[in-house]
Symmetry: C2
DNA sequence: CGACATATACTCACAGTGAGTAAAAGGGAT
DNA sequence: ATCCCTTTTACTCACTGTGAGTATATGTCG
């Protein structure tokens, strides 16, 4: 039997939100995600990553979730006798622990994906990308319709609405069309900053996962400091989703879920009426199940 | 640096639904999930698994999705110089390809998890389990309340509703309480058939994942044959969810999503009024986004 | 031919959601 | 002090989607 011996490598996407801007921890001046070998002493993969992040960054790591494992042959083309298995994780870091705006190592999500931030309307970056993808779709007479539909759905064109969860799909579409630097060409488009190997793809995976998860699990609170205002909470969600939310309805949503409680204190940060401070009720997870999509049940 | 050399092992949870019963492919007379080494020739993990399943089982494999990767030290206690990394996958097999009821290698989900099938009401198996878990909760004076809440929520007691997606949570709770054979004791409870190593845990992971996924992605159709009746479709979903569904509402749900279309033919299988046959519209995935939980958007 | 079984079609009340408006409570300028 | 500006907080209203139940069509079997 051809016994497969392999390297195991852990890759971390550590995310924090500071100043209403989602950020990711990087190394090599923002060129790569932090990664390290899985070593024999580690109890488990998760434990390995935790230890390793602590050593290297000093950031206490709260929420941690596995993203994806891959071992494509193309990734280690040099060494034919060994394969590298990469296991990627998504980790959330609390705001207080995150460094200031200009601190080294942390870069904004939207430096890498300028077209993903729709908080102030459709970003300009999308204009050029839309045109380039439309041309790419038209360029293959055989698959034209199929390609055009993929483009429309991904970018929210021709009647389709923008869907923030399709971040990974969009990146892969641009990769396939050769619009990003990692795939060769980059015809002067605002196609965002590129990264080492497939690290930007991993970041896109993390963004997609997190954008989906905030809708049905209270993970945002892993990014918030102990107490916060409702506006602050909303801005954090908006930063992650890359969308502007409806204030009254956001508030209704939050308190009908009973996720938070008042601390009693107030905040007078932003030159308007002072806002109540809230804290997350951890106990909620034990009280009642969170709403998830439902099947049409029958009572008997 | 302590370079981590490791074995890579692929584990597959292959599921089909035959005769309205969800089944999983097994080896060793139902004692283990099929697994095999990841070899150097394989292009990628996914490709490796596909090849390997084809060789071993001859079943064409449709949908395939990564489940989880783990490498706990406890799993390979003998060999200290090498670690085994296990990468598990969920695969869906179409009904027509699946063998008959008594065929070797395929076993019903609910042999391993008798308490998970609520299609005909709460199964009897839950009575004993409920009692045992309540006793377990009460046995630790310090953590009593916390434990009791976990039990109530997992099993749907004291006001909580049964949530079919908690299959993994339930198994882990029973494991923690020492009620399953894999964790030592099994005090004569109907705690289901056990499996090699942590394979039953992996199966529980697959069940949980699939039960969640059928709600927001049209994966059921990966299990159906080319044409089917609405009742057949419903029974397949019910088999997976382990729940009875409300017929009129199930139908409404399906056709308002425009997932299927009539073939024109009829089926006169089950001694009542003949039913229309339908087929899945693959094109739907390109037409409009599937509904997912939504954030309260703002229009500008 | 009538009882039975299943498929299919329609109805109705209600809760949750999208969207917008109004009032409250601070700071700062005049 | 008063008025303006900003932000928080509170309330309203129409509408759609969902839970639940009932009625009708169309076959088979005794």
């Amino acid at each position: 039997m051809n016994d497969a011996l392999a390297h195991a490598e852990l890759i971390a996407v550590l995310t924090a939100v500071t100043n209403d801007e989602p950020r990711v921890m990087t190394v090599s001046k923002g060129e790569a995600l932090p990664s390290g070998p899985f070593e024999l002493e580690h109890r488990s993969l998760q434990a390995g990553l935790r230890e390793w992040v602590n050593e290297q960054t000093g950031h206490p790591l709260g929420y941690l979730e596995q993203l994806y494992t891959f071992a494509d042959r193309d990734r280690s083309p040099m060494d034919k006798a060994r394969r590298t298995i990469s296991i990627s994780y998504l980790g959330l870091v609390r705001e207080q622990a995150a460094p200031g705006a200009g601190a080294p190592g942390w870069h904004g999500w939207y430096e890498y994906f300028p077209w993903e931030d729709h908080r102030e309307g459709r970003p300009e970056a999308l204009a050029g990308i839309t045109q380039a993808l439309n041309e790419w779709a038209a360029s293959d007479p055989m698959r034209r319709d199929h390609r055009q539909k993929r483009v429309d759905l991904s970018l929210g064109l021709n009647g389709a609405a923008w869907n923030e969860e399709l971040a990974l799909q969009r990146y892969e579409l641009m990769y396939e069309a050769g619009l990003v630097a990692e795939a060769g060409g980059d015809a002067g488009l605002p196609s965002g900053r590129s990264m080492f190997a497939d690290h930007r793809r991993i970041l896109a995976t993390a963004i997609t996962r997190l954008r989906a998860k905030i809708k049905y699990r209270p993970v945002v609170f892993e990014l918030m400091s102990e107490s916060f205002t409702l506006s602050h909470l909303q801005h954090t969600v908006e930063a992650l989703a890359g969308l502007a939310l409806h204030k009254p309805n956001f508030r209704r949503l939050i308190d009908q879920q009973e996720l938070i409680e008042e601390t009693g204190a107030m905040s007078s940060e932003t030159g308007g009426r002072p806002a109540k401070l809230y804290r997350y009720r951890r106990a909620i997870l034990e009280e009642h199940a969170l709403s998830s999509p439902r099947l049409p049940l029958s009572r008997n």
